[in-house]
């Protein structure tokens, strides 16, 4: 039995499961620019894994590799113990990896409810004719999906804006709706790209609470990119630190905090 399939207990007493996603020697180039240089790390079941680093470090590119928006030139993505072939983003989503975006990608013209319902698309199996006519199995399925969506809506406390077109919502609520849509898919891995960017302190606290609750109650594995160090250190079980496309640190928040390379990357270092 190898180390990847074993569980272990963190210093906070949280149990972290076997590896869900394993990135092996990923290299991503845009023309002559290497955005990601030979990076390997894993994400384990039930943990909150943070990816941090200064601007332009390649964090979002990393998330885009995981969700299939970018295809790396070298390296392998292992998902649930198997190497994953090159996939389109929609195929990755159908496999149970949901995500949010740094610059919010919602369906602005649709209501909050409809937006969250799109998260359930991969769970709808009945055929198109019975769906159009609201018939038998299709009606039951729609009700089940609707119930699942309502649970998520309750959970994220957005009941009051259920019917509001998303385009009319303020920024903080949009971020929450985007999280709701990702959650509705009941993902086995949830990717959050700067879930707290541009929020005020209160909104950040709310969002942190939701992320922790999601992880606690649904046991969802979460990988997140975040700039707010306080938030990252509080939320995450393990942290990967990137700088100029390289991995410069990997470990628990305390280990990372004490890492000299990480301190240099964030505070700058004198070159003589």
């Amino acid at each position: 039995m190898n180390a990847q399939s074993q569980s272990f207990v963190t210093e906070d007493g949280r149990t972290i499961g076997p590896t869900v996603l394993d990135l092996r020697n990923i290299t991503l180039r845009f023309g002559g620019v290497e955005a990601i240089k030979d990076i390997s790390f894993d994400i384990r079941e039930g943990e909150i894994r943070a990816i941090i680093g200064p601007n332009g470090a390649g964090k979002s590119s990393m998330l885009n590799v995981i969700s299939g928006f970018y295809v790396p030139q070298e390296g392998e993505v292992w998902f649930r113990g198997k190497p994953r072939p090159a996939m389109k983003p929609y195929e990755v989503a159908q496999q149970g990896i949901a995500r949010t975006f740094q610059n919010i990608a919602l369906f602005e013209g649709m209501s909050v409810l409809d937006n969250v319902m799109t998260g359930r698309l991969a769970h709808m199996k009945t055929n198109i004719l019975t769906q159009a006519l609201w018939w038998g199995a299709a009606a039951r399925e729609e009700e089940e999906n609707r119930a699942a969506v309502e649970r998520v809506i309750d959970f994220l406390e957005i009941q009051a804006i259920r019917k509001t077109p998303v385009g009319r919502l303020p920024y903080g609520l949009k971020k929450r709706v985007e999280l709701a849509r990702a959650l509705a898919a009941e993902p086995s891995l949830l990717l959050l790209d700067e879930p707290m960017a541009g929020m005020n302190v209160e909104e950040k606290e709310d969002m942190s609470r939701f992320i922790l609750d999601v992880n606690d109650e649904f046991g969802t594995t979460i990988a997140l990119i975040e700039h707010d160090m306080g938030v990252v250190m509080d939320l995450s079980d393990r942290v990967v630190v990137m700088d100029y496309g390289r991995k410069i640190g990997d470990g628990t928040p305390d280990e990372v905090r004490g890492n000299q390379d990480v301190i240099d990357a964030y505070l700058g270092v004198a070159h003589d």
Binding site: S67, F69, K88, P89, Y90, E91, A93, Q94, A98, R99, F101, A105, L106, F107, E108, G109, M110, D114, M117, T118, G119, L121, A122, M124, I128, Q131, A132, L133, W134, E142, G167, R181, A182, A185
Partner: protein, 336 residues
């Protein structure tokens, strides 16, 4: 009731029916524009192509027979059978789905993320290409389309109105059928887009490509689907217009009549396409009656006829100036 008013009512009613025909064409535009942001100039030619294919299949014509004969020195034109109307319609639907796939595979898949104007130019190219292919496949002579739709004056309306007003209205049976079919088509489209998984996916793609991908929607599948539906709507429009005025090149020009309808109704609204079509249909008939022929207000304005050719465009121009998003289009709001 005064005769003048009765005439006006009959004219308005006929205008409504003509409006339904405009709406049918406009619908195809709206569907593609909503889902992919492409203004499909080829929609009218698609209607022509669909109608020609239907007639060709029905008559058992050999496609590309001129080319085949020229290349092989043979002299074949017909298979020697004729296909029943319903089967021919089903086969034409298959052809239109194939066309949708080909258009997406060979044209628009290579133009993802391009400027709208480039996509628009591509549809102009597509229109000319498709027109040529249609001629090559089925020949360019004028054809009659007969799928067994009732035509001629509706006796029931004639008698009923005669009993009521002492003046029988002339309503064409074909127009009544067109109205019923357009109603069914719209009901079907609404049910599809509101209640089905694919419909929801379609609305999602129309709104945001990236977000759609992230919830597991295949853009290619949705685009083929939407072009197929537009092809189907084009077929319905082609059948109606073809039955009314024969299948010939001018059929593709009905697309031009759809433009003012779209400006009125809004490019993104299915109800808008319907209401816009009806307003233009009634508007141009009544305007012609009142001011083209000088039948209203004692004939103070008499433009001497032929107002129908320009009325719709002038109305559309007015809308462009005062309400550019149309009656039902989404208002464009930008946050600064």
């Amino acid at each position: 009731m005064p005769d003048q008013l009765l005439y006006a009512m009959e004219v308005a009613l006929n205008g409504l029916m003509a409006g339904v025909m405009y709406s049918l064409v406009a619908l195809g535009f709206v569907l593609i524009f909503k889902a992919s942001g492409i203004f499909n100039y080829a929609q009218g030619v698609m209607a022509l192509f669909a109608a020609m294919t239907l007639v060709g299949i029905q008559n058992g014509q050999v496609p590309f027979s001129h080319m085949i004969n020229a290349a092989l020195g043979t002299d074949i034109h017909h298979f020697g059978w004729s296909v029943p109307a319903l089967a021919a319609i089903a086969l034409t639907v298959v052809v239109m789905v194939g066309l949708a796939w080909a258009v997406n595979r060979f044209v628009f898949r290579h133009l993802v993320n391009q400027e709208p104007i480039i996509l628009f130019m591509a549809t102009i190219g597509l229109a000319y290409f498709l027109e040529g292919v249609a001629d090559l496949m089925w020949g360019s002579e004028i054809k009659t389309l007969d799928v067994g739709l009732p035509q001629g004056i509706n006796d029931w309306v004639d008698t009923a109105t005669f009993d009521l007003f002492g003046y029988g209205f002339f309503i064409d049976n074909l127009d009544i059928v067109a109205t019923v079919i357009a109603g069914l088509l719209v009901a079907g489209l609404v049910m599809f887009s509101q209640y089905t998984k694919q419909g929801r996916a379609l609305r999602a793609v129309a709104d945001d490509h990236q977000a759609a991908l992230s919830v597991g929607i295949s853009l290619n599948f949705i685009w083929v689907l939407v072009w197929s539906i537009a092809g189907f709507v084009a077929l319905v429009a082609g059948i109606m217009w073809g039955a009314k005025s024969g299948v010939q090149f001018s059929l593709s020009l009905i697309a031009l009549k759809a433009l003012p309808v779209l400006m009125l109704g809004g490019f993104t609204s299915i109800p808008g396409a319907i209401v816009g079509g009806l307003i233009i249909g009634v508007g141009e008939k009544l305007f012609e009656f009142c001011f083209g022929n000088g039948q209203c207000f004692g004939g103070i304005i008499d433009l001497g006829g032929a107002t129908e050719t320009w009325f719709a465009y002038v109305l559309a121009l007015g809308f462009l100036v005062f309400r550019p998003q149309g009656l039902f289009g989404e208002k464009i709001i930008e946050r600064v």
